[in-house]
Symmetry: C2
Subunit: 475 residues, 2 copies
């Protein structure tokens, strides 16, 4: 075996990882400097640096500017992953959850420790840069944007989205894209285009309550598909369910589902597209969290395997740039004309300036730079939160291991009702999302969604400590 | 009889009106200056000025800055008003009109003489002032508007809309208002809130094709209600039709219908609300043209007579300030919660900055000032167009007399097919809206909608002359 530089750095990294696993190197410990490490191990500075970089990418250590590398994570004694939910007997008629309204309202309370929102806090968003882009757009747009833009959306924006499609493995043209008012509007238009009142659609379970409520307002029935916290929806089950329940369309988050954090491997994505083709049904692919990956590469999308136009890919800039701008988009494949007509009839066109501003922002390549910083921050926050949950929550709890996105899914002892927990937590000015709202069935009552979208702080630490205490009381 | 100043000015105005009617004073003639008039008639300057002002308000003369008063209109030999359409046997299943798509696309062609759009040209809109308001909003909104605003809409904007409600006779609070993405989105949300797929709704006839298409996308059936070009929908017919056709909701433009220009008198509005109460059905009141009146006072709305929350008033700033901003609103009465939920589920919230900008614009009282100028310009344009139609079109054509809005409705000899005319006109680079698109029935094929939203010019004059010539050939 050649003792190449590559193997050297991996050997060093492995050693350090073992020390961390055995708690020899504890969370918060400072590691030797890259120079010291290079001298001690008799390797080049570059090899020592590569070892640290590797561990950082694995989320075990972090570099602090002008200070060095610190241990931030230990993989030992980690809680189990949550279980896959059981399949249901029949699709559910959708009902509105007052719980959702309450959780949404509580989120806006002041002085609250927020674990409830699957969106970044404003402080994480590039407000100054996007404002600059807006001023630029104001100058650039004819008549300062007071007139209607084309129904399909700002051409510059569509061009930039097409240009960026290479990031998710696509190669689309601007003519295939329709801009929307955020991702929810994209989902609304796409669902309306492919279904009729009374139809049944398949959604992963647990699922974002917003998608369940959208299905309700469109008069659809929902079949919840068992979903693995690692690999996403159970395709074998889906294959049987489509004919059995006369599924007319699928609505899936393929990367980092909300709340479970599941990311479908590419092989599954390809297999899913094959299933769609077999049954000739469309997939509305919600990729809202796809850009927020922790690994080295962005996960792909089903759309790249779609040669029949059955996939309607939906996304937005709401999780990364500016939710308040409400700029989203869809690539609706063979349903392009239908989606365009619905957009035309429901709202004529999108507001001109927010889209033009996002186009300017993308044009200046600020997006990738901003995303890199955001992904890194989110990864660190994820590990901090996971670490604290491991420390403060009862040992029998299970926790998801998302490789991207904004949220953790925690499964507690079946005795614990997380809505009861929620009501107690709110009294302590702590918010989270109780599991019950992520299903139309009476399930997930012992689960909770914890967002790590806020920067780590003593307040967050105290919040999780208090939650842990409250959970133990209810166990 | 007292010879008061008031009577004096009316006497003078009457005399002038007679001279205009007898073609002694011809279109384009300059009137004596106010000073000359005051000396000649032995009245005060103020009385002479009042006489001119009165004639100007009646649309017979216009003042040109630094030049004086000119005759712009003569009431003699005016064409008849269009006839009321006949009632239909049953509600129509809605079908999409390819014609609409064609007309919409042709509207965007370059170098075209535009009589097709029921919206103001960009040059008529306050682009600079609204841009200034946007910059103001950018500074004022927390985090420069990158975050979500409340589902119900920007509070400042709702406050300003509430404050302005006095203009249409309302006295609403900001809590009753929901902001939307233009008026079409308001209509979409309201129709979705009060109907289910398969329901039948009542719409005036002829009706805006956008409303007919919206009904289609929502799976609704439409009963077209005979509508008088002066006074609006036939309430006697409606009273019988509601129980007979199981009407679930009405969707009416109450002021200056598009395309007919009908304005429902206040007595009719009150009567309509009484009908709604009798049958317990809602009215979606589209007041998009209400601010564009030519008379002394803004016409009222049904909403002011509504004590049971059955009226869902919809409007926007798209016809007056900035269609590209997509800022509209609704006051949905007893359906507030339903509309809010639909908005939440379909798009979470409105874009923050366009609404904040409109709020700043309204706050600075720029709106009323801008509206005054726009109304005056529209009135002049209306008369110019009407005049030219009278001159160039065959004598047997009937023309509506809108007291506001952007469009004229012309009924030609039944032999003329206006879609055929349209195809010929487009070859001459002239666009208008053929009558057929304003109904789901096979009617209005000899009608056309002529927009006077563009400033009068030789191009417009030539356009109408050419249209007249083409019509004569087809007659």
């Amino acid at each position: 075996m050649l003792k190449t530089a590559e193997h050297l750095y991996l050997q060093i990294a492995d050693k350090l990882e073992q020390l961390i696993a055995k708690d020899v190197l504890k969370i918060g410990d400072k590691l030797p400097s890259v120079r010291t490490m290079s001298e001690e191990q008799g390797v080049s500075m570059s090899t020592a640096f590569q070892a640290y970089y590797h561990l950082e990418a694995k989320g075990l250590i972090e570099s602090r500017p002008k200070s060095g590398y610190y241990v931030i994570f230990s993989p030992r004694r980690m809680p189990e992953m949550p279980k896959v939910c059981e399949a249901v007997k029949k699709p559910s008629e959708v009902t509105v959850h007052e719980m959702v309204t309450q959780v949404s309202q509580d989120m806006r309370l002041e002085n609250i420790t927020r674990f409830a929102s699957a969106a970044p806090p404003e402080s994480m968003l590039p407000a100054a840069k996007i404002s600059k882009a807006l001023i630029q757009a104001l100058r650039k747009t004819p008549f300062a944007g007071v007139g209607y833009e084309p129904v399909q959306g700002n051409p510059d924006l569509r061009r930039q989205i097409a240009r960026n499609s290479i990031l998710w493995g696509g190669a689309v043209s601007e003519d295939e894209i329709v801009t929307t008012s955020g991702c929810m509007d994209a989902l609304t238009l796409c669902l309306s285009a492919v279904t009729q009142q009374g139809d049944t659609i398949a959604i992963e379970s647990p699922a974002y309550y917003g998608s369940l409520q959208l299905a309700e307002t469109l008069g659809l029935k929902v079949l919840e598909i068992p979903t693995h916290p690692g690999t996403g929806v159970d395709l074998e089950y889906l294959d049987k369910a489509i004919p059995k329940f006369k599924i007319k369309a699928c609505l899936f988050v393929t990367n980092f589902t909300n709340p479970l954090g599941a990311c479908m491997p590419d092989t599954h994505k390809r297999e899913l597209v094959r299933l769609l083709e077999k049954y000739e049904i469309p997939l509305i692919e919600d990729d809202i969290y796809g850009d927020m990956y922790f690994g080295k590469e962005r996960p792909g999308v089903c759309k790249t395997f779609d040669t029949n136009g059955l996939v309607l890919l939906c996304n937005s800039f709401s999780k990364s740039v500016a939710p308040g701008y409400r700029v989203g988009w869809t690539i609706p494949g063979r349903y392009l004309e239908k989606v365009l007509n619905l957009k035309r009839h429901h709202s004529i066109s999108s507001p001109s300036l927010p889209g033009a501003a996002i186009a300017c922002f993308l044009e200046n390549d600020r997006y990738e730079h901003h995303l890199r910083g955001m992904r890194k921050a989110l990864h660190t926050q994820y590990m901090r939160h996971l670490q604290a949950i491991r420390e403060y929550f009862p040992e029998d709890c299970c926790v998801s291991r998302p490789q991207g996105g904004f949220v953790l899914w925690v499964e507690l002892n079946p005795k614990v009702n997380t809505y009861e927990l929620y009501e107690q937590a709110i009294k302590h000015k702590i918010s989270f999302a109780p599991g019950r709202i992520f299903s139309l069935q009476d399930r997930y009552t012992n689960c909770m969604r914890i967002s790590y979208s806020n920067p780590w702080s003593k307040q967050m630490d105290d919040g999780l400590k208090t939650l842990g205490r409250l959970i133990r009381k209810l166990s």
